[in-house]
Amino acid sequence: MSEIIPHLETQNLNAYYGSTQALEDVSIVIPRNQITMIIGPSGCGKTTLLKCLNRFIELEENARIEGKVLLDGENIYSPSVDVTEVRKKSGLLAQRPYPLPMSIFDNVAYGIRIHRLHSRGQLHQAVQHYLQVAGLWEEVKDRLHAPASQLSIGQQQRLCLARGLAVEPEIILGDEPTSALDPISAQHIEKRLIELKQRYTIVLVSHILRQARRLADYVIFMYMGRVVEAGPAHQVFNNPQHERTRAYLSGEF
């Protein structure tokens, strides 16, 4: 692995829910065009960290953060930055897919329409393109105008991927995006993500160590709101620097 080119970076990030601190002094870099995996035991702050990266943390009633998150060097929390622009730059895959209450076609077209990314004439082509990239086109091309809720969970997750890609983001964020899926659908998504890292920076949260080993180029290991260790995957997995990482990787907790 060559030298790291940071795409996202956090500096001394602290996050609080009310008076409990969920992130403590987190300073990490997220390399461009790689898959970064955030791992760690339940409740260590993985989801919170991910939410800080697209300002979703602001949707939590009682949350408060300190510190900086830099996207290409610009702090996304600075007052002059438009939150919708920040979110447009990252596609989000949630733990459970959540289609919009419209047809399959309109789900993908939604982002294109609100951001006026393509003209009307090109809309269909664009939708087809993103459905193809997400590996869903063949399965839905004959029922584009059926409600998205009719798709299986695995198909819905790929629809959400297509929908996220359609707003032309630079980053894909995923919070355990395969944990609600059956093994075949999960494989589908994994395969897509590996293809997509050519063009996007991908940040995933995972519970499953085997999945992390399969996908990760870069690993961030967290414990109780702190980053214990971060580095290229081969280094963290094969030669962890910290006792705690070693213990976690060997399944001790």
Partner: protein
């Protein structure tokens, strides 16, 4: 032993469910039977296509087209105006005021308004109209009905929006939607069936109400030709005709009731159908 008990409990509960269902069905059928049996004989084409002619209230020629049209105007107008305020309020309650003390206060006020008898709305509307120097008119009736329907609609819509899964707006925010885009393109789409039901519920309440239009819209044999002319309505047509001493006219009261029931039934059936149709796209 325990097993036996559970079976018995099950049976008792089932019995109660069956009884209450039978009771409701019985009441519904009895009401329908009464108005059909008493109203159908005098229901004629003339009843629904003519306005009252001279001597109508003594049992002579004419129909209640004035009341049919009047009621539709009143209820449609009232529902539209109530909608104009109820929907934004319901959105405001859930998006901008969510979980604040203000939201609770507004909900409490709406619940109180919902419980106020319609004659009070009628009297209130009447007082305001006197103050403004208005006479009984279609507009007065529409505004009073809007007032009556507003809390019903706002509260019903509020419940619909409250049941919205929080993940849905998040999915829209994740795509870089603004609050406004999220509200109008995504949330509205999800809750449209519920909103339609809420609006039609309020419409049904409005079209059936006599007390609120009694002083405010008045009653006339003519079809209203402007917002400032008085307007007849079906509930009052029932009321006035039932109050006469002539059996023929009383019978017409039942046929007016029958017409009102058919309209309300039609509305509720079509709203069910509409809700079902729109619901295809909603996420459950």
């Amino acid at each position: 032993m325990r097993w036996k008990w559970q079976q018995l409990e099950e049976k008792i509960v089932q019995l109660f469910m069956l009884l209450s269902f039978a009771l409701i069905l019985f009441c519904l059928l009895l009401i329908l039977y009464t108005i059909v049996a008493k109203g159908l004989p005098s229901l004629s084409w003339a009843m629904i296509s003519q306005t009252p002619k001279g001597g109508f209230y003594l049992g002579k020629e004419g129909g209640i087209l004035n009341a049919i049209i009047g009621s539709l105007y009143l209820a449609l107008g009232g529902t539209l105006i109530a909608l104009l305020f109820a929907f934004p309020l319901a959105l405001l309650l859930n998006i901008y005021l969510s979980q604040s003390l203000w939201a609770d206060l507004v909900r409490l006020s709406l619940d109180i308004l919902w419980g106020i008898p319609s004659i009070v709305y009628g009297a209130f509307g009447f007082t305001v109209m006197i103050f403004l120097g208005w006479r009984a008119s279609l507009l007065g009736g529409i505004l009073t009905l809007a007032l009556l329907e507003f809390p019903i609609m706002a509260r019903a819509m509020d419940e619909v929006i409250r049941r919205l899964p929080p993940d849905l707006p998040r999915a829209a925010y994740a795509l870089g939607s603004t609050n406004l885009e999220t509200a109008f393109f995504v949330v509205t789409r999800q809750i449209l069936p519920g909103l339609a039901t809420a609006a039609l519920l309020a419409f049904g309440r409005g079209i059936g109400d006599a007390a609120s239009v009694l002083f405010t819209a008045g009653y006339t044999d003519r079809i209203p030709n402007s917002l400032f002319s008085p307007a007849a309505s079906l509930p009052l047509a029932v009321f006035f005709q039932l109050g006469t001493p002539f059996p023929e006219v009383q019978q017409r009261a039942y046929s007016a009731a029958l017409i009102l029931t058919i309209i309300v039934l039609g509305i509720s059936l079509s709203s069910r159908w509409l809700a079902h149709y729109l619901d295809r796209f909603s996420i459950h």
